[in-house]
């Protein structure tokens, strides 16, 4: 019965060791996908390389399907898996700022870490910028605290919000992903691809 660390008393070192192992897997998968290259990532927004979309949606859907099936077979209690709380203002404004950061820096924090680990110095600068950003946020927190925590909706889930079963919502999401994958591969053929092979 899972989640293991929630339902069982496990020593802290083991919990942290699991975190470390999962981190290894996470970093490995990101690097193998090619997320250690900012120009490959940026290709998403100019249509020449849509790896981001493919990896992102495949990963989310695989985890979604896996968790739904494990739950159906009584192996995983989904009620005990963290669901991100929804703060409307914070999510909207924060994600727009993140989008701007993404197109300027060419990384997101996770991909920046995987790029730095293979020696990309631009990723190092990106992460230093990230530390600065986190510091600025912490210092400005008192002034934006209200913005960050108003309009709170709780940990709502899409299926509840739309009033369908989680399985049905997953199915619709999968159909959307299949359509997006098809469009993405069409786009890759259409938009000129700058020569980034020397970089990767």
């Amino acid at each position: 019965m899972a989640p293991i660390s929630v339902l069982n008393e496990i020593p802290e070192w083991l919990n942290l060791a699991i975190a470390f192992l999962i981190g290894i897997g996470f970093g490995f998968a990101l690097e193998q996908a090619g997320f250690s290259s900012s120009r490959k990532l940026a290709g998403m927004f100019y249509g020449y390389d849509t790896t981001v979309l493919k990896v992102f949606f495949t990963a989310a859907i695989v985890a979604l399907i896996g968790s739904q099936l494990l739950s159906y077979f009584g192996l995983l209690n989904l009620n005990l898996v963290y669901v991100n709380p929804y703060y409307v203002n914070a999510a909207l404004i924060g994600s727009v700022i993140m989008g701007a950061g993404f197109i300027m820096g060419g990384f997101c924090p996770g991909t920046g870490i995987s790029a730095l680990s293979i020696g990309k110095l631009d990723a190092l600068i990106f992460l230093i910028g990230g530390l600065t950003g986190a510091f600025l946020f912490a210092e400005s927190y008192p002034t934006i605290q209200t913005l960050a925590s108003t309009n709170y909706r709780g940990p709502v889930r899409m299926d509840e919000w739309m009033g369908v079963s989680p399985g049905m919502f997953s199915f619709l999401l999968i159909l959307a992903a299949i359509l997006l994958f098809w469009l993405a591969e069409k786009a890759e053929k259409k938009f000129p691809r700058p020569d980034i092979t020397s970089e990767i």
Binding site: L7, E9, T58, Q68, N77, V81, S165, G167, M168
Partner: protein
């Protein structure tokens, strides 16, 4: 055949399967009917005297849960309890409280019926550490609040028992005699301790 088409076929197939799953496993009982029936309910009961002792010693490994309506709860409750009316039992906000492996949750209603229902539902859902205060609030009132020692000579055992009841009675009366606004503050403070699931980038 490229990877996209293979993956699309696989995902579409599994998606179709998911769309027609007949029940939502995160909302149904995890124990099988047989398992649930076999659990010895008597092993999950506490007497009011035991609960009074937990209350007197402010035992942090015990969480009392009042299943009655909010109005009844506000009128009087066992100090240290939190109020989860039976109607609200499955509200996800309480899941972190009820579904955990550390504290013992002790349910009580006014009688035995509500608590037994709530016990069966939560135990069926796979929650551990769910117990019931036998007799509920009526038994508590009769035994802890109103009983008097009658007899000529008191044995040490009875003495300890009544000592315990008197202490519980005093705390119960003190806390429940607070004006409503103070009582609410006391309850809010309790509520904030609610354990939450850990995750995200927080």
């Amino acid at each position: 055949m490229n990877a996209r088409i293979k993956l699309s076929i696989l995902l579409a197939g599994v998606g179709l399967l998911l769309a027609f799953l007949p029940f939502n496993a995160s909302k149904t009982f995890r124990l099988s009917p047989g398992e649930l029936l076999k659990i010895n309910y008597q092993d999950h009961l506490f007497t009011v005297d035991e609960v009074a002792r937990f209350m007197n010693s402010e035992d942090s490994a015990v969480q009392l849960i009042d299943l009655r309506s909010n109005a009844e709860f506000m009128e009087c409750n066992i100090p240290g309890s939190i109020n989860i009316p039976l109607d609200d039992l499955l509200n996800p906000d309480w899941e972190g409280y009820l579904n955990q492996g550390e504290k013992r949750n002790i349910f009580y209603g006014n009688g035995d019926e509500t608590a037994a229902e709530a016990w069966t539902i939560t135990t069926g859902l796979g929650y551990k550490n769910i117990f019931v205060m036998k007799g509920g609030m009526n038994e508590w009132y009769k035994t802890v609040m109103l009983s008097k020692f009658e007899g000529d000579r008191i044995t040490p055992r009875e003495n300890a028992l009544f000592e315990n009841r008197y202490r519980a009675r005093r705390t119960f009366t003190e806390i429940n005699s607070l004006p409503d606004n103070l009582k609410r503050q006391y309850l809010e403070a309790k509520r904030l301790e609610e354990s939450q699931l850990d995750g995200g980038c927080e």
